[in-house]
Amino acid sequence: MTETTVNNLRRGVAAQSAPSSVNNSGENEAWQMEQLTLADMVGPLAHELHNVFNNMVLQAAIVGRSVPEPFREQIGAFRELAFRASKMLSDLDTYRHNVRFPRQPVDLADIVRRVIEKHQERGLAIHYEVQGAPAPVLGNETDVARLTELLVRNAHAAGSPVAVLVVRAEDRIALVVQDRGPDVESDRLYELFQPFAVTRRGQNSLERAACQTIARRLEAKLRATPREGGGVAVTVDFKSATA
């Protein structure tokens, strides 16, 4: 886990005492957004843990065939523990999965603009461009805003200048976030959305993995490609609300 990841998790834990002390609605909204993002990090973490538990079960089965009889009961108990831990995790993940916002037509360009304005208020330079006529996408403001925020935040962490593009064509509505950070080999680009893969210094791998979680929930497609001239472009293809 990267230092940035750990710091963000600590920040999240510390923020749990925030509601009663936060009066400013802007700060409260930001706190809620961070909490939702932490919840979306549970998905990729749970996936990793399930694999760990599954490995324990498989390993126990292999070992169980070769150990003397007295140890087989212990191996069985070990398997049972791994299975029960995984079941608890599944229940938690199912609960989290079922807490979702209803999808409706939203204005992607407007949501992205508001997210970028907040970054610009903090002095970060972002080039923002909208192509094509207005067209709603299927989603909800909270998820689309958080997805944009996480992508822009991590693009800055990778390397500026950052350029954000909303493409509204007949057959697709996409958000493209481009950075000038270090290049990533084409066959390793998929690792950008893996929870524990460190592909670029400064980026938060759990936040990137949470982007995948949010995109799936929105039924959007997320992919990374090399950016012309250096860096990475992350594209989110949204589902049109009018299709």
């Binding site: 399930h50 694999n51 599954n54 390993q59 998929y190 959305f193």
Partner: protein, 141 residues
Amino acid sequence: MPLVLLIEDHESSRKLMRDILSIRFDVAEAGRADEALRVLREKVVDLILMDMQLPGVDGLTLTRQLKANPVTQAIPIVAVSAHAMQQNIDDALASGCVAYVTKPLVDDPFVFVEWLSQWIPAVPRLTSSATPSTPATASHA
């Protein structure tokens, strides 16, 4: 021995599952959709064990692609996933998977391997309907 294509992105899970599968099957491996497609171009596969949560093209999309392709559509696909939600199971079965298995495995993994063999077609794929005796309506969870 029949050839099983094991598609699993988690390297250590893939290795352990390969060790267990290999007592009953020949095993080809892939960690991603493009690797799986390459194996399918090069080998005659009898059964696919498909992790549904793959990086890039996910298991559900890959299953739909394989079922839409006349060359691969008859290969039985058993879905494997950590997600046990009904919607995930319904989606996998609707896409053409013959069964849905949740991780971690509930059964003894060596019993699971025997269970898998029921999905191996008895006659050559391209001339067979390749329908196993047991209807694929329930998950193996």
